[in-house]
Structures are given as C-alpha cells and as structure tokens.
C-alpha cells in the first residue's frame, strides 16, 4: 500500500564543484562532489527551500525509500513528507551528505585525483564552517539564494546555527534541535575515546587501511557502542533493556549475557560494516572544534550578533549529551541580540535520540513553527 505521508521513491543526485574550496584549517580541496536528495517542488521564485543538515552518522537520505521493498526509509522520514511537520506539499526539502562523508560525497574513502588512490590520512580535517561553505555551493548550484529554513539536530543543529552566522542573508529561519553552542569537556572526552578506539585498531594503518584491504572494524565498533550509550538516557536504557538476560540463565562468561550487550554489539557491528573510520574521526573533530563564541573571546552573544534569522530552538529534558542547559545558552545569546526566537524544552525519555523520535508534541511544535514562516 502506498503511504500518502511518504515522499515515496527517491533517488540521490550528485553535484560536482570544480572551484577549489579553502578550508578553515588552511588546506584546499581542489574539487569535490556532494551527493544530495530533494523532496517536494522548488517554487518558481526558489523561495521555499529547506536544507536539512545531518548529524554525526547521518546521510543525504533524509526521507523516502529507494524501492517499494525498501524497509529502511530516510533517517528523518517521520518529520518530512506530504502533510508532515516539514510539509513537502509546501516546501522543497534538501538532504545533503556532508563533505568528508562516506555515502557519496567527497571524503577520505574517495579517490584522490592527484594520486589515483583513496585520500585516507591525506584527507583534510573539516569543520562545521567548511560544511556550510560546501552546502552554500550546492545552494548556488540549485539557484537558491535564500533558504526558507535550515534545520538540523545535534551536529546538524550546529550547522543550522553556523549558517545564520556565515550567511546571515541566506537563511530566514533556523531550527536548532538538540544542539549546543560548543561541546563540553565531558562531551569531547567521549569523542576522544571513540577516536582512540579507531586509531589504535591495528587495522587502521594510520588511516590508510584501504590499500591494505582491511577496515578497522573493532575500533569503529567500540566507538559506536560508546556513542549509543551517550545517546540514550539511563531511564531509556533501563526501560528498553533493564537487566534482562539474553538467555534463560547467566553463563558466567563474557559472551552476551544481557540484552543491553546484544543491542550495543548489534549497533556496533552494523555501523562498522557501513561507516568509514576516517569519516568518523573527522566528524567527531568537527563537533569538537565547533565554538562560534571563541572568536569573540568566549562571548556567544557577540558571536551571534551577525545572525538575522528567526529561530526555533528545541531541547529534550533527558538529553545529557546535548543538555537543555546548552540550548538555553543559545537562546540567551539570541535574546541578547533581540532576535526572534522560540524555545521549546520538551519532556522526553529517550535522551539525545529523542530528536529522531516521532513524538506528537515535538512534531506539533515543529509543524506550528513551519506553518507560520513566510
């Protein structure tokens, strides 16, 4: 049966950019590709475009399916579609795989034209600012001078915020969800452990594992397991698994004893089979480096003085990795600049993962905001 609230069967496209891109680190990418998907129709005056920015492990495949049989729709399919909070009957929605990704956009696993081999360790470290620059090239390519809205959760929310600073005149609304104006030391510490798991995997080969025909699976697996612990709240893990045993009785072994272990191993294995280790290292670094207040001596209000967009900021009560306190810092800085801002602090049990969940009130909030934008 056809789901009328789905954008239906979708297909990715690729855009090639031949102009060199100067990165924040000083490195230059001579050329790059971005893979993207679009849903809905772009207006004649190209004013109804929404850019959806992905988080750490996201992709350009935000909504819809690749075939009728496809059991895995895009990662934010519950948010985007005809009649959904981001209504594709009204808006033209773009999902893009970020530069440095591993799902088609130019990244460490892509072939470096200069050597004919995968970039590997030679691929530069990218930042949120670099992603915004690359995304702006895609906007140029599609003829979009200004976005009706840019939206993202977590690291995606950081990109939406950065857009309002890098290109204040090109974004009219920013939806910054489960994000932070920078990571705390504890948050960066999780990233460092994840990176160390990858880097110390003997099959990492300094990042040039491609030519050895191996993948640092163990490192990626542990990195992902660690991540999943931090994306859920203690309560959510308790509700989901508690102390339930995998088998009828304990075996006094180090095999999977508890359901929780089974979940983490499954998530880790799945991720290690499909994600690029070099991409993961760089995505976590982009998170670490994001700190727009830094160039204003730590004054976030001064940093956000450039912004002109209207904002919807959302946080979730049980999210301890991107806690409501951090969203409130963003809200305060926006208020200090007398920008139009609404802040919803949603009661949710799921922790950081709540931003991907189909909660009715959450969706009502996004829908109400979107219905009022021009």
């Amino acid at each position: 049966m056809t789901d009328i609230s789905s954008v239906g069967i979708v297909a990715p496209q690729t855009a090639h950019f031949g102009e060199p891109l100067l990165l924040k680190s000083g490195a230059v990418l001579p050329a790059f590709d971005l893979v993207f998907e679009t849903y809905g129709k772009l207006d004649a005056d190209k004013s109804n475009a929404i850019l959806v920015c992905h988080a750490l492990s996201g992709t350009h495949h935000v909504a819809g399916k690749y075939s009728e049989e496809d059991k895995h729709p895009g990662w934010w399919d519950n948010m985007i579609g005809p009649g959904k909070p981001l209504d594709t009957n009204r808006f033209f929605v773009i999902g893009v795989n970020n530069l440095c990704g591993c799902h088609g956009s130019t990244g460490p696993s892509s072939i470096n034209p200069a050597t004919g081999k995968p970039w590997g360790s030679a691929f530069p470290v990218v930042t949120v600012e670099d992603w915004v620059q690359a995304q702006s090239r895609l906007a140029d390519h599609l003829g979009i001078s200004s976005f009706a809205a840019i939206m993202g959760g977590s690291l995606g929310g950081m990109q939406a915020l950065q857009w309002t600073l890098t290109f204040p005149d090109r974004v009219r609304n920013a939806l910054v969800i489960a994000a932070a104006p920078s990571l705390t030391a504890q948050n960066m510490a999780f990233n460092e452990v994840a990176r160390q798991a990858i880097i110390t995997d003997p099959e990492f080969h300094g990042g040039d594992f491609y030519e050895h025909g191996v993948v640092p699976r163990r490192g990626l697996r542990i990195a992902r397991m660690l991540g999943h612990i931090t994306y859920l709240s203690d309560d959510a893990m308790g509700a989901k698994f508690g102390r339930r045993l995998k088998h009828d009785e304990v075996k006094y072994s180090f095999d999977v004893e508890f359901e929780m272990e089974s979940y983490l191993r499954y998530q880790g294995d799945k991720f290690a089979g499909e994600f690029d280790a070099n991409t993961y290292l760089r995505m976590t670094r982009a998170l670490d480096y994001f700190d727009p207040a830094a160039e204003c001596g730590g004054d976030l209000s001064a940093a956000l003085a450039k912004a002109k967009a209207d904002f919807l900021v959302i946080s979730f009560t049980s999210d301890w990795r991107f806690s409501p306190e951090r969203s409130r810092e963003i809200v305060k800085a926006l208020l200090d600049n007398e920008l139009s801002v609404t802040y919803a602090e949603l009661t949710a049990a799921h922790g950081h993962d709540a931003f991907l969940m189909p909660d009715k009130h959450y969706h009502d909030v996004v829908r109400a905001y979107m219905e009022n934008i021009e």
């Binding site: 208020l335 949603l346 909030v365």
Partner: protein, 208 residues
C-alpha cells in the same frame, strides 16, 4: 430581536472586559518596546501588544499546550519555569516585564518580583484583588471566595499567594519599589472610589 443564549452574553462580556485589561496594559507600553510576558499562556496579550503597540515581545511559559498555542499564534515563547528565576535574561534587557494575573499562583512571589525588577526597566503586575467586596462577603458568609477572577474552589485552586491591594501597596513600600501608576478595575471599568473594596482587578506599573 434575535435570541442570544445567556451563556453567550457572559462570554462576550468576559472577552470585552479582558480586552479592556489588555488595553489598559497597552497604554502603559511605548510603541516598539521590548516586552517580556511571564506566564504568557497562549500569547494573547503579546499578540494584542504586537498588533496595537508593535512591540518586540517574548513570552515565558512552562506548559506544553500553551507553548504550542503561542507557536500557532506566531508569538515568540521561551519554555521555562519562572519559579527557577530569570537567569536566562540579562539585567535591564527589557523595556517592560509583565506578570498578568499570575502573581497569586507563583511559589516564590517575592523572588519573582525582584527578578522582574532586575530584568525590566519597567514592571507591570496585575492580580485579582482579594479585598474586593464580593470576596469579603463570601468570607463573611463563612466560605472561601469564588468569583470570575478567582474561579476555583479552595481544594483545586492554583492560587496560593492571594493578596489585597493594601497588601501589595505595603509590599512595594517594604521593598523600596516605586509605583509609577496604579489602576483598579471592575468589569473592565476603572474604579477610583475605595479601590480595595470595589475593585476586582489591580494593575500596577512600577520600577526601582
């Protein structure tokens, strides 16, 4: 003459009275002012001030349904519990901070008034006057008052800090608060004679 059900008359009268309350608040606010409305509900006061005074307004509200209503009404709202203080707002960053008919329902009444004075150059507080003669009459008859402004029973009321106009006047003196204007209303009309007896709604405008 068209028949109008009695209920509809009451509803209309309430709505009209409420608008007069809004209109009185609006008269104390300069066009284009930056306004914070604490406990803003569905944002109707801010909507009124936006339409009549072109204010740059933000509401503060803790209730999910009200936050959603504000969004639907196109009102900027910050979801938080004002009992936690206003630390998310800079000192003297608003021209006016409003607490409309919420004073009697807050826990930390004194702290919130002081926070309003910190954040706002001007403060507007409105509350139901517990000294209104209809309330006194009900107490005299031995019952807790129930009225249009105090529509709850003693066992389900959110109102925990009810006060009279005389109480609030004394509070202002004790806290060194300069009351620049006071307006007392009953059924939407200003009351000047014996306000603490004849007024059902008190409106204060004050600053440090």
């Amino acid at each position: 003459m068209t028949h109008v059900p009695a209920q509809a008359h009451v509803h209309f009268a309430e709505a009209a009275a409420e608008r007069r309350d809004f209109a009185a608040i609006a008269r104390w606010i300069a066009p284009g002012a930056k306004v914070l409305d604490l406990g803003c509900g569905d944002g109707s006061l801010l909507g009124y001030l936006r339409d009549t005074r072109d204010v740059c307004g933000y509401g503060v509200e803790k209730d999910d349904a009200n936050v959603l209503a504000c969004l639907q009404n196109g009102i900027n709202v910050i979801q938080m519990n004002l009992e936690d203080g206003l630390s998310g707002f800079e000192a003297q960053s608003f021209d006016v901070v409003i607490l409309s008919q919420t004073l009697q329902a807050v826990q930390n009444t004194e702290g919130i008034v002081l926070e309003m004075l910190r954040v706002g150059k001007d403060v507007i507080v409105t509350f139901p006057n517990f000294g209104y003669w209809r309330h006194r009459a009900q107490i005299f008859a031995g019952r807790m008052p129930v009225s249009r402004n105090l529509p709850y029973q003693w066992y389900d009321t959110p109102n925990i800090h009810l006060c009279t106009i005389a109480d609030f006047d004394a509070f202002c003196i004790e806290h060194g608060i300069h009351v620049s204007e006071r307006l007392v209303m009953t059924d939407g009309k200003a009351v000047s004679l014996l306000p603490n007896l004849l007024g059902s709604l008190a409106m204060y405008r004050f600053s440090r």
